[in-house]
């Protein structure tokens, strides 16, 4: 047993897969000799060689395109976006090429695109985004977003082993803030497509993922203390495909649902989840589905404004109180 940070758990997961399977490659800007902007791949080039840990030009389309070709040839490449905001530069190749390759040409494309997402770090509009909604709409992709160190490790390993392209959105705020003791003698694999109940409660359910899990848990504790409310918190972990079964089960258990995400409101993943609840469990609702999200603006540089725009614990508390009183 050893205590590892979220970032170390991710690093260990990557290293284990590289050691286990020599088809696993890493590509990205500064991932090699520098060890990555956040040092996720520190020491990898020395350990696995420059042929498997490849420094690339600053060209996200080229990174993903190269990886797609390698994947077709039997490799299992992992692309790092230095900040996940720049995955938008690879939007076309991911949605037009990678996501459709199996359908168009019967080509397996087992690649992973990963990178640091999310705010709360004063990163401003180019270094704080949560791009999941932009890809949720693309059949052929899978999207995961770990909140815990265990899942950081378990989901990167599952993503690398998956036969289809997986987008892995890690949260930079959690990198060194989340620590967890993980067993060393057990292989940690988190199944893609399975949510997890992070906290039991009977009064209402919060559906969330990534960094918002921790804010939701904090809100739930506060509500238990101050209001006597028992709030269930569900960590979705995988956003595509969504775990409908877990979502419907939560609705049937508590009949009141709050969706919390860090991404902006309009067109966000919460809208899709709400629609599914309407389709699958309308008669089990005792209140409208409510969502707590970022305001619909580019994320400001100013710390006070960033705090205002992004969901905070108090916003979640207020949302829960509204739902509970409905």
């Amino acid at each position: 047993m050893a205590e590892v940070t979220y970032l170390e758990a991710l690093r260990d997961g990557l290293a284990e897969e590289m050691a286990r399977d020599e088809r696993v490659l890493i590509l990205g800007e500064d991932v090699g000799s520098y060890g990555g902007a956040f040092k996720v791949t520190e020491g990898f080039q020395q350990r696995f060689g420059a042929e498997r840990v490849i420094d690339t030009p600053i060209a996200e389309t080229a990174i993903v395109g190269t990886a797609a070709g390698a994947a077709h040839m039997g490799f299992r490449p992992v692309c790092e976006m230095q900040f996940i905001d720049f995955i938008s530069c690879a939007y076309s190749i991911l949605t037009n090429y990678v996501a459709t390759a199996r359908y168009r040409a019967g080509l397996a494309t087992p690649l992973v695109v990963r990178g640091p997402a999310g705010g709360y770090v004063r990163g401003g509009p180019f270094h704080s985004q949560n791009p999941e909604a932009a890809f949720l709409h693309t059949p052929g992709l899978k999207i995961v977003a770990p909140a815990t160190a265990r899942d950081a490790k378990g989901l990167i390993k599952a993503a690398i082993r998956d036969e289809d392209p997986v987008l892995y959105f890690e949260h930079k705020y959690l990198y060194r803030r989340i620590k967890e003791t993980l067993p060393e003698d057990e292989e940690i694999l988190t199944p893609i497509g399975q949510a997890r109940i992070a906290r039991d409660g009977r009064d209402l359910s919060i559906l969330t993922w990534s960094a918002m899990l921790w804010k939701s848990l904090e809100a739930a504790e506060l509500l238990e203390r101050e209001d006597g409310l028992a709030v269930e918190v569900i960590d979705l972990r995988t956003l595509l495909p969504l775990d409908d079964e877990a979502i419907v089960a939560a609705v049937k258990r508590t009949n009141r649902v709050l969706i919390v995400h860090e991404d902006t409101r309009t067109g966000g993943v919460a809208g899709e989840i709400t629609a599914r609840i309407n389709e699958l469990a309308f008669e089990w609702l005792d209140a409208p589905v409510k969502r707590i999200c970022a305001h619909d603006v580019p994320l400001p540089y100013a710390p006070t404004l960033e705090d205002f725009v992004l969901p905070q614990v108090q916003d979640i508390v207020k949302g829960c109180r509204w739902l509970a009183g409905y």
Partner: protein, 474 residues
């Protein structure tokens, strides 16, 4: 000009009133939506109450320090939007009902739209509790709903999909259920509490009424969970080859739910007593023909019902119900008589049974049983029972131990009546064995309000009445 009401909010399920502690705005002050306009204190919480809409504080109806019932209108707001609309397009006075206060809060208009504070946690045993709430709680929405609101609108505002489903499954009238949610909305907890309270007497299954939707999932499988109660799921049952699956009828479902609910909410205890019916057997044999001439079948059950009705007057705790943390003593003695039908069980009620003589009771029993089997009972003939008698003895059963018919505090089962050897002690103290007509009576009672001594005194008095049944009253 649109004026909307600002009401005393309900700050918790058991809170019936609140004290307006301070006005934060004066008449004429402009207020923004969600801006605190007054402070309240209840026995559970103190809170600032936000404005349900933007506007100008037009009237203050409750002064600082005054305590009023929840949903009482404490102020009126002149809304900007309303005033603007009125000047732009004047409408006839009869139209344009004002929006229901606080019901217009769009849930998603902003993420900090906390309008009504969450219900406070239940009071701990030592906590100060308000005086018993006036019961039954008035439907709070009625106080503030605009007069023009139709029943349909009100239903729509007062229910959510889940609540409507539960109401449909149990054939309940939502408008009759007090709501604790925002704007008096009936929540899941409200409707479940209502079902548990037993106020929802099951309506008889109409002969050719609407067919219930066959459903393969229980209506409310995991909702009836109280705090600290561990839910043990029922067994998973699967049909084997050749088995027959019959979806529940409405009456089956109502019975099933009611029985499980009853077992859960009441502390069932049973006492049994043996009664010597020899005197009644004689009286019955003597008068049976007279009764038959009047079209009435004189049964042992009629004697028992008559004796029960009389004794319930003397033992009111068995003609009672539990209402919250109160005992509700019923003024009327309304005897339910369980009637087994081929398709289920129903309990028609003899209203004011203590005011009927034996003939009246015998006739009522005959009549209700006949009409129950002919599906000709009206809904009010199965409601408002205060005590129930069931008669498993007709099948020869020695006695049965019945489940309480909620919310009643007692139910009597009549065992088979027949000739048995009994030891009699003569005036001289000598014992002899005689053939006597005897039978058992079993009383199930709710130990929450009925103690063993209460129940046993009732049974002893009942036996005495039966064994010394006055001939002149026949």
């Amino acid at each position: 000009m649109a004026r909307i009401d600002v009401v005393m909010p309900q700050m918790g399920e058991s809170i019936a009133e609140g004290t307006l502690s301070k006005w934060l705005k004066r008449v004429g002050d402009p207020v923004k939506r969600d801006e605190p306009i007054f402070e309240i204190s209840t026995d559970k919480v103190d809170a600032e109450i936000p404005a349900p809409a933007a506007g100008v504080l037009a009237e203050i109806l409750v002064q600082e320090g005054q305590t009023v019932a929840v949903q009482t209108v404490v102020a009126r707001l002149e809304t900007d939007a309303g005033a603007a609309a009125a000047s732009a397009a004047p409408k006839p006075a009869t139209s344009a009902p004002a929006p229901a206060p606080s019901a217009g809060q769009a849930p998603d208009s902003e993420r900090a739209a906390a309008v009504v504070p969450a219900p406070a946690p239940s009071p701990s045993p030592g906590a100060k509790v308000a005086a018993p709430p006036a019961a039954p709680k008035p439907a709070p929405a009625a106080a503030t709903a605009p007069a023009a609101e139709s029943l349909e609108d009100r239903l729509r505002r007062k229910s959510t999909p889940l609540v409507r489903k539960i109401a449909a499954d149990h054939n309940l009238d939502l408008t009759a259920i007090p709501g604790s949610g925002m704007a008096g909305r009936v929540t899941k907890n409200d409707i479940l509490a209502y079902l548990e309270s037993g106020l929802a007497a099951p309506a008889p299954a109409p002969a050719d009424g609407p067919v219930t939707r066959p459903t393969d999932r229980p209506a409310v499988p995991d909702l009836t969970v109280g705090p600290g109660v561990r839910v043990v799921p029922g067994p998973v049952v699967e049909p084997w080859e050749g088995d027959r699956v019959e979806p529940w009828s409405r009456i089956r479902k109502l019975t099933a739910d009611h029985m499980v609910m009853s077992r859960r909410v009441s502390a069932h205890v049973q006492s049994l007593i043996e009664v010597d019916y020899s005197r009644i057997a004689t009286l019955r044999a003597k008068r049976k023909a007279d009764y038959a001439e009047r079209g009435v079948h004189l049964t042992f059950l009629a004697f028992i019902a008559s004796a029960v009705a009389r004794n319930l007057r003397k033992h009111p705790v068995l003609n009672a119900a539990v209402m919250g943390e109160n005992t509700l003593y019923r003024r009327e003695v309304n005897l339910g008589i369980a009637v087994a039908m081929d398709w289920g069980l129903i309990v028609p009620v003899i209203r004011r049974a203590d005011e009927l003589n034996l003939l009246g009771i015998a006739r009522a029993i005959n009549d209700l049983a006949e009409r129950a089997r002919a599906k000709k009972l009206s809904p009010d003939e199965v409601q408002k029972g205060t005590f129930t008698i069931t008669n498993p003895g007709v099948f020869g059963t020695f006695v049965g131990l019945p489940v309480l018919n909620q919310p009643q505090s007692g139910i009597l089962a009549v065992g088979a009546i027949g000739k048995r050897p009994a030891v009699l002690t003569g005036p001289d103290g000598s014992d002899s064995i005689a053939i006597r007509t005897q039978g058992m009576l079993a009383l199930s009672f709710d130990h929450r309000i009925v103690d063993g001594a209460d129940a046993d005194r009732f049974l002893a008095d009942l036996r005495a009445t039966l064994q010394e049944f006055p001939e002149e009253s026949i």
